[in-house]
Amino acid sequence: MVRFFRSGNLASRVFDRQLFSSRPGAAVRFLVLPLSLPLLLVRFLSCLVGSCGGCVENGQSVAGFLPWSGGSTALVWRGLDLVVYRPIWLTYSCNEECDSHALPPKAKKFDSFFKQLYSIPLASSNEYICKDFFLYMECHQFGLFATSTAQSNDSTATEGAIHGVPSIEKITFYLVRLEDGVILDEKAFCNDFINLAHSIGAYLYEDLLCIVSLRYQIIHILQIRDSGNLVEVRRIGAFCQEDDELFLHSHVQTGYGGSFLPGIKQRLLSYIFRKTWNEVPDQTLRVQHLKKKFYFHFQDYVDLIIWKVQFLDRRHLFIKFGSVDGGVSRSTDQNLAFFAVYNMETTDIVSLYQNSSEELYSLFEQFYDHFHANPQDSSRGKFISSHSNDVHALDQLRTIKNKASSSSQFVKKMMVSLPYTCQSQSPSPYFDLSLFRYDEKLISAIDRHRHCTEHPIKFISVRPPNVVKFKIKPGLDSGASDSRAKRISSFLFHPSFPLALSIQQTYMQPTVINIHFRR
C-alpha cells in the first residue's frame, strides 16, 4: 500500500486512488486531509478566552470540557449544571486583506466559537459532577454522566466490602439525550466505590454498559434500551449464573461454617488449577507441581481483586485482577496483575495471563485495535491510529522495546494500558501517526492531564519534506507566566473539524482555555 502520492495535483491523486487502496475506513479522510493541510498551510492560532481565567459571560467559571460527542457538541460543567454548546465558526469581516489582519476583539470571546444549546441541572447541593466522566452512545446520541458525593476515607467494613477501598455515599449515573437535554434514566450506587476518573470504571460497548464496583467487587452489566432506560442484565461477582444464588441457598445446609468464594474467584481458581494440572502429564509429578504452583500461591490468588473491566465483544469481558493496594490508585507501578478473558454466557474464564506475559504482549502488538473495536461506533473506532494499524507507530514501539533494559519491565509497562479505557482516544486526524509526528509526552490522542511546557508543541509532517506543519501553544499568549507554578494542561480535539481546545490549570490560579483553529 503506497503511503504517499507522487504529486500534489488533485486530479492525479484521484486517479491514483483508483489504483492504490488505502486503509479501510480512512479512505475519505486520507484523500482530503493531506491535500488540504500541505496546500493551505495550516496555521493554528491561539486566542485567549477571557483573561479572567476562562470566565464566561455570567461570571461563572468553566470548570471543564468534555470530549466532543459525535462532533457536534461540546459539554461544559458550570457549577452543578451541565451546559451543552455547539461549536460554531468564528466569522468576521474586514476591509483589508483578511489574512494579514489581526483577529477582531470578539475572537477573544467564548461565544464566538460556541453557541449554548441548553443547560440542565445534574447534581444536587451536596454532590458534584464528575468532570472527566463521560461516555457517548453514538447511535442514539445519548450521553452518560456521573455525579458523586464526597469520598469518605473511613471505609467501615460492611458485608461483602473489600477492606482498603474507600467508600462514596452516593454515585449516580445519568443517561441524557444530548439532542435536547432530557435526562432519560439514572442509576445510583450507594456506599460504593467506582473509579470515575477518566471513565475508567465503566465501559460502553454497543448498547451494553459495564460498571465495576470496586468496593463490592461486582461487575454490573446494564443495557441501554432504545427508550433510554438503563436495565441491569447481569451482576457478576459473588454469583456468575443467574440461578447460582438460588442454587446455593437451596442446597447448602444451614450451619455450614465456611463461606463460599465469590463465583468469579472460583472460576479463576479453577482455571489456574486446570492449567497447572495439564502442565505435567506424569501422574506422580503432577501433585508436586500443583503444590508448588497452585497451593503455595492459593491465598495470593484468593486475595486478588477486580481492578478494571472492558468488553471484547458482547459475550466476553477482559478483566484485570490485581492486589488490593494497587487497585484504587492509577499509578503505573509494576505490581503483579493478571488479565482474564471471561465468557459471560458460559461463565468460564477462557484464558489468563500475567502482566509480564510475552504472549499477551504479542497479541497487544498485533491486535491492539480489537481492544477498542466497537462495531457501532464507526465514526470513532476506524480513525484511531495505533501501532496495530500504522507502520510508523509500530516502528516507534519496536524501537522503544529494543532500547528497554528489561523485557519483562517493558511488557508490564505496556500492559498498564490494558484493559482499554472506553473512548479515551481522540479520533482527530491531527493525531494520525501516518500524517504527523509529535511529542507524545506533551500531547497525544489519549486524553490525559500533562505537565505544561513553555514551548509550543510542534506537529511535524511524516511525509517528506519533514517540515513543521503547525504548532500549538498551550500557555498564555502574552506575558511571562510564573514558571515556578506547576501547570497542567489537557487538550481536546474536535474529531473532524480543525478545532481544538487546550485547558491549562495552575494551582491556585484561574483556568485558562485556549481555542485553536485553522484560519
Binding site: 502442565e279 502429564p281 465483544d313 477462557v350 491486535f367 480489537h370
Partner: protein, 104 residues
C-alpha cells in the same frame, strides 16, 4: 478497431482513434495464453454457506492459545524399557513424540 485494448466500453470511441502502437511492425499475437484446466471438480459443496466468524480475531487467538494449554498432554507410557529388541509398534504421529521422550 484492432487496438490491444479490445472493444471495451468507453464514453467516446474516437478518444482512442489516435492510438498508435509503440512498435508498428509488431503484429497482435494470435497465440492465446495457456489456461489452467483443473483435473478435479472445483464446484463448492452444494449446501455451503459462507458466513463471517462472529468472534473477532483477538478472541480467536485467546481461545486457540488456551485450548493448547488446557488440552491434557499425553502421559508417557508406563513400560519405559522396551522388552523385545527395541521394536515397538508404530503408533499415530502424536504417539511418536511421547514414545521418543520415553526412550531418551
Amino acid at each position: 478497431m484492432g487496438s490491444p485494448l479490445g472493444g471495451w466500453p468507453s464514453y467516446n470511441p474516437h478518444n482512442f482513434s489516435q492510438l498508435v502502437p509503440a512498435d508498428p511492425s509488431a503484429q497482435p499475437s494470435n497465440v492465446t495464453p495457456a489456461t489452467y484446466i483443473a483435473t478435479h471438480r472445483t464446484d463448492p459443496p452444494p449446501n455451503q454457506v459462507i458466513t463471517t466468524e462472529p468472534r473477532n480475531i483477538l478472541l480467536r487467538h485467546f481461545y486457540q492459545k488456551s485450548e493448547e494449554k488446557l488440552r491434557p498432554k499425553r502421559a508417557a507410557p508406563d513400560n519405559l524399557a522396551p522388552e523385545n529388541n527395541n521394536k515397538q509398534p508404530r503408533g499415530t504421529v502424536a504417539d511418536v513424540g511421547s514414545q521418543s521422550n520415553a526412550r531418551s
